[in-house]
């Protein structure tokens, strides 16, 4: 593990409930987050264990078969899923509030007694293997994974998955993994419900009372590399090329985040300079965007995407590079930037949506991002000016530090890139590497 020390010490406490009251409909949505139970805990060589554990969770207990569990949940009007991220193993449920007690009892029983048969585990592994093959047919998925693979250091993280890891996986590995999840050092919950908070705390006690917390303990996230690698995932004969370029951004609570958000909106949104020049004026591509890979405990990334038709790549690639070098002084960009304050000020309403409020509260405790009230938000947006933005561009944007990842015809792209920048030597890889 080459994880660096985090920029912010996570302060989510065991047993915490993040709650939003929503009286509009008689529904309850809950998430149980086993914090530290994510795929960062997968044993070496067994990539895919966490996802398989999530998918087998509702596939049996000593008393119920998979069919019985799923039918019972459907009859209660509940949807229940388990998923994994780098740090967390999450069980999400949504149901009619009138059935909440019965749904929670069923889910608690599954979490406590998960005991899927061997053949269910084999079926899930087969599904996962199938989904790896299907993912290679999706160019956007391949490109995104290749980009992550490169910026995480070309190890395992970022890959779509691992065929070899899945083929090695046994039921015992999955059971052992879920034992670690169940005993995660921190278990917290989120809830959006028409019920009062106290009722939910009572209902959720079944998961927290007397719980062991000596399983998986949260580790630092893997940092992004500050790499300027150039990588082509070869797709011989592809009619379109696709690219993601990215560079290191800023920390989650960095006060320059408002400037950065407005700059990237003016540069890279569908009303931004990049889209205007590459698609609207020249018609070289369908999509052309700049966006932020959000900062967490690690700094985020500033990223760019385009999907030129193969015959236009030799025009689009140098022009995108040129825009990224010249945009700070570009009149079109300055006009677009000047209009962003009002646009962003109007977006405050999104912060009031219950899911958004929950996310903001969690992000404050996980990443130290302060939750702003309307006045604080408007002040922060209003403080972005042409001169503060220019300073942030000088400090943060660095076209020479871009990692460049392409998915397309290497025969077409290699000479194009060699002619573009002599200091970059493209590495060509096969898409199969992303599922090896």
């Amino acid at each position: 593990m080459n994880a660096a020390a985090p920029l912010f010490r996570d302060r989510i406490r065991d047993g915490a409930l993040y709650y939003e009251h929503d009286p509009r409909v008689p529904m309850t949505a809950l998430q149980l987050v086993f914090h530290g139970g994510g795929f960062q805990q997968e044993p070496t060589g067994l990539m895919g264990t966490a996802r398989v554990a999530a998918k087998t969770l509702f596939r049996g207990t000593p008393a119920m078969t998979r069919q019985q569990i799923l039918q019972q949940l459907d009859l209660l009007g509940a949807t229940v899923d388990a998923s994994v991220s780098e740090t967390d193993f999450t069980i999400s449920l949504s149901c009619f509030t009138r059935a909440l007690d019965r749904v929670i009892a069923l889910v608690a029983s599954v979490v406590e007694n998960a005991s899927f048969p061997e053949e269910e585990c084999a079926l899930v592994i087969r599904q996962e293997l199938n989904s790896l093959s299907a993912a290679l047919q999706n160019p956007e998925r391949v490109l995104t994974a290749a980009h992550e693979f490169v910026v995480y250091g070309a190890g395992t993280q970022g890959k779509i998955g691992s065929r070899a890891g899945l083929e090695r996986l046994t039921r015992a590995d999955v059971v052992r993994y879920f034992e670690g999840v169940r005993g995660a050092g921190v278990l917290f919950a989120t809830a959006i419900s028409d019920l009062p908070r106290a009722d939910l705390e009572r209902a959720l006690a079944v998961f927290t009372r007397g719980r062991r917390a000596d399983g998986f303990q949260l580790r630092s996230e893997r940092p992004f590399l500050d790499t300027r690698a150039t990588v082509i995932v070869d797709s011989p004969g592809a009619t379109n090329d696709r690219l993601i370029w990215s560079q290191t951004g800023i920390a989650a609570a960095d006060p320059r985040r408002f400037d950065l958000a407005l700059i990237l909106d003016a540069l890279g949104s569908s009303e931004g300079t990049i889209f205007e020049v590459l698609r609207n004026k020249n018609g070289w591509c369908y999509g052309a965007y700049g966006y932020l890979v959000p900062a967490t405990t690690r700094p985020g990334r500033i990223a760019y995407y385009a999907d030129p038709a193969g015959e236009n790549s030799h025009r689009l690639v140098p022009e995108l590079l040129s825009i990224l070098g010249r945009f700070p002084g570009d009149a079109d960009f300055q006009v677009r930037l000047a209009g962003r304050n009002e646009t962003f000020a109007n977006r405050y309403a999104y912060q009031l949506e219950p899911k958004r409020k929950l996310t903001n509260a969690i992000n404050e405790d996980r990443y130290g991002i302060p939750v702003l009230d309307r006045e604080g938000y408007q002040r922060a947006i209003g403080a972005v000016t042409a001169s503060t933005a220019a300073a942030v561009i000088r400090e943060v944007f660095a076209v020479e530090r871009l990692a460049m990842v392409y998915y397309g015809d290497a025969g077409r792209l290699t000479p194009l890139l060699a002619g573009l920048d002599g200091s970059r030597t493209p590495t060509v890889i096969e898409s199969g590497l992303l599922i090896a």
Binding site: M27, L70, D74
Partner: protein, 172 residues
């Protein structure tokens, strides 16, 4: 990928609620017939059936992403068998309860999501001229019975040829 489509009438037709119910019996909940027989047995990686309608008429559509090593014909046979069972009225009360749950959940989700609410109201207005159609039709869904579902399966899906598209992946 397997995609198949069958002609169905518009939203105001009395067969529309049974067709929507049929789609949900087939793939609506996690325990739905085709999910149980195809998805949970790893013969497909995804499956979906739905009744899509416009102002004039609509289509009943199936989409299935076929797993490696599984034949299209095998999946089509499972789908056809499930349709024949529905046509014979082999539908349980539990299945109908699950469909009603799904419809109630969708209504609540629409009510709290502006995009979804706009879609529901807009679809009703564009396709029927009645902004409240999506709410008014809930009663009709509640009255759908097993013989109506069976008749709709027979008339629109089993007794019609339909159109199927089989997409083969590019060789690796």
């Amino acid at each position: 990928m397997l995609a198949s489509a069958f002609h169905i009438p518009d939203m105001t037709h009395p067969d529309y609620p049974p067709l929507v119910t049929l789609a949900k019996i087939l793939t609506g909940g996690k325990s739905a017939v085709l999910k149980e027989r195809l998805l949970h047995t790893s013969r497909v990686t995804s499956i979906m059936a739905d009744a899509f309608v416009g102002k004039d008429c609509g289509t009943f559509e199936f989409f299935a992403q076929i797993a490696d090593g599984v034949e299209f014909a095998e999946v089509e046979a499972v789908v056809r068998q499930a349709l024949e069972e529905c046509a014979r009225g082999e539908i349980s009360r539990d299945q109908l309860t699950i469909v009603k749950n799904e419809i109630e959940r969708e209504l609540y989700q629409s009510a709290t999501n502006p995009d979804s609410l706009g879609q529901k109201l807009g679809d009703g207005f564009i396709n029927t001229g009645d902004l409240a159609f999506g709410v008014k039709i809930l009663d009709a869904f509640g009255r759908v019975d097993i013989p109506q579902i069976g008749a709709a399966a027979r008339r629109y899906l089993l007794d019609q040829p339909g159109t199927a598209i089989r997409l083969h992946p590019e060789p690796a």
